[in-house]
């Protein structure tokens, strides 16, 4: 086995694992609480939970299986053949051969906003989308860095990971709504069932707490996944500086975009190269907590570290 310069970042792995562990813990606690509440409950409470689970699970499965089509449609992107975009395809071909992965489909979105994203549940069903804006603004080296970042998302199966991670939040969010409506419309029947009111209230309270915690954890996880994709992308091309300069260009470009375009792009935020929407107000630390992407400083700092690592004289043992 050859020595390698490409040591994994243990700290990042540990933080990511801890986040996922916490998410799992919240999930278990949530289920345990629901079961606990329902053992004291009757059909009404159980039915609500069941419907929420089916709905939430269904939404997740559908979004997972159709993520590529949904993303293509909502970004207005069009798949391009190697003849139509030979350079872009050539770049993706080479990166896939370097990384030994299946080549995703390639699409171009007619937006001026400089950005790129990749989606799909596995590498065979993935699609890599770049906007016309990013093709125009970036040098080939920088574009290659962006593509390598997106291909790393595909390799890490980030769409799957994030969908499973969000499942909890979806179910909790649905429960809040269902509990609220059943409270609103089911009021007349309450006299038949003395227990139903506190039970539904309890489900609602638990769901709110679970939703809030899992929301924050998902955002945290998303930021770690971004850092991991930056890292793998930079190692794949061997050019961390090109990725850094692409990040800077894209981030500066984002600020100049009119608000309407930004809102239209918001649902896809978690899969974008750089966040299309900046949270306004609420202070710096708060927006960092809610953000799907790590701050530019943090991403550049990591890339500088990788640059140093690759430039060491004599490989590390």
């Amino acid at each position: 086995m050859a020595r390698t310069r490409y040591a994994p970042d243990r700290g990042l792995t540990v933080r990511m694992t801890a986040t996922m562990f916490l998410l799992g813990l919240v999930f278990v606690a949530f289920v345990a609480l629901l079961i606990g509440i329902m053992t004291a409950a009757h059909a009404s409470g159980a039915a609500i939970v069941l419907v929420a689970l089916i709905f939430g699970g269904g939404t997740a499965v559908i979004s997972l299986f159709y993520s590529d089509k949904i993303a293509l449609a909502s970004a207005g992107a069009r798949e391009v053949s190697p003849q139509e975009a030979p350079e872009l395809h050539g770049m993706v071909d080479r990166l896939c051969a370097l990384a030994d992965m299946d080549k995703p489909r390639v699409a171009i979105a007619p937006a001026d906003m400089p950005n790129a994203f990749a989606t799909g549940r596995n590498s065979k069903n993935s699609v890599l989308v770049v906007t016309e804006g990013i093709l125009r603004r970036l040098e080939p080296d920088e574009l290659e860095g962006v593509l390598a970042h997106e291909l790393s998302h595909v390799a890490h199966k980030d769409v799957q990971v994030m969908t499973y991670a969000s499942l909890l939040a979806i179910v909790a969010g649905l429960l809040i709504r269902f509990a609220f409506y059943s409270e609103l419309f089911g009021g007349g029947r309450r006299s038949n069932n003395q227990n139903a009111f506190p039970i539904i209230l309890a489900i609602m309270a638990v769901s709110v707490v679970v939703y809030a915690i899992s929301f924050l954890l998902i955002r945290l996880l998303s930021r770690y996944r971004e850092l991991a994709a930056d890292r793998s992308g930079a190692l794949l091309t061997g050019q961390p500086s090109s990725l850094a300069s692409a990040l800077q260009k894209v981030s500066n470009g984002m600020a100049r975009i009119p608000t309407q375009d930004l809102r239209a792009a918001e649902p896809l935020n978690a899969f974008y190269f750089a966040p299309a929407m900046k949270l306004t107000g609420g202070g710096r630390s708060l927006s960092a907590l809610f953000s799907t992407h790590p701050s530019l400083d943090k991403r550049l700092e990591q890339l500088a570290k990788i640059q140093q690592q690759l430039g060491q004289v004599g490989p590390p043992r």
């Binding site: 990511m16 050539g90 896939c96 990384a99 030994d100 991991a228 690759l310 430039g311």
Partner: protein
Amino acid sequence: MGFLDTLSGRTKPVQPKLDDLFALPSAAITLQAATGFTPTGSGSVCFRAVEGKTFSDIQAEVRELLNMDAGKPGGGLPVEVTKDSYGFTWLVSSHMSDETDALVTDLHAVNSALVDNGFGPQLLCTLVAFRDEQERRLALVYLYKRGTFYPFAPTSGQRRDNALELQVKNVLADDLKIEQDLAKWFPVWGAPGL
């Protein structure tokens, strides 16, 4: 990629497979007997250079090493270094057409220099060029990460002769590990030395 690597968002850079490259000289003989394509004597290694001086020093060393024998019998011409439009570096080694063994040894020297210095994951492919009497061009491309070969036959413009490629695939099925997934036969338009 394993389940744990997926969970932790970690791709291990893929190490290249080098050994199968030495099957080329005997495959060249089979190819000539069956199709009339002969080696042109030139071959190249393509890799993605890493930024920074460490890598460029190694690259310079390799070049010096290969050029030591240049001009001597069996030593071939000095290596050429070119950078393509995708930012990949090609080291082209040129020999006489009957010196496939020496050519492969040269190519292997480049690989092992990169691997020994810890830059193995940067290797993309190696390419050995062939011609027939009608001056049709053919290359056997070796994918380092998969350890497989595939034929690439560019015609005019950005077109490739798929019929010829499939023919070569069948001819060489016993000599080389041919890439079975046709989607991985990516074109290398304008590759130096082809």
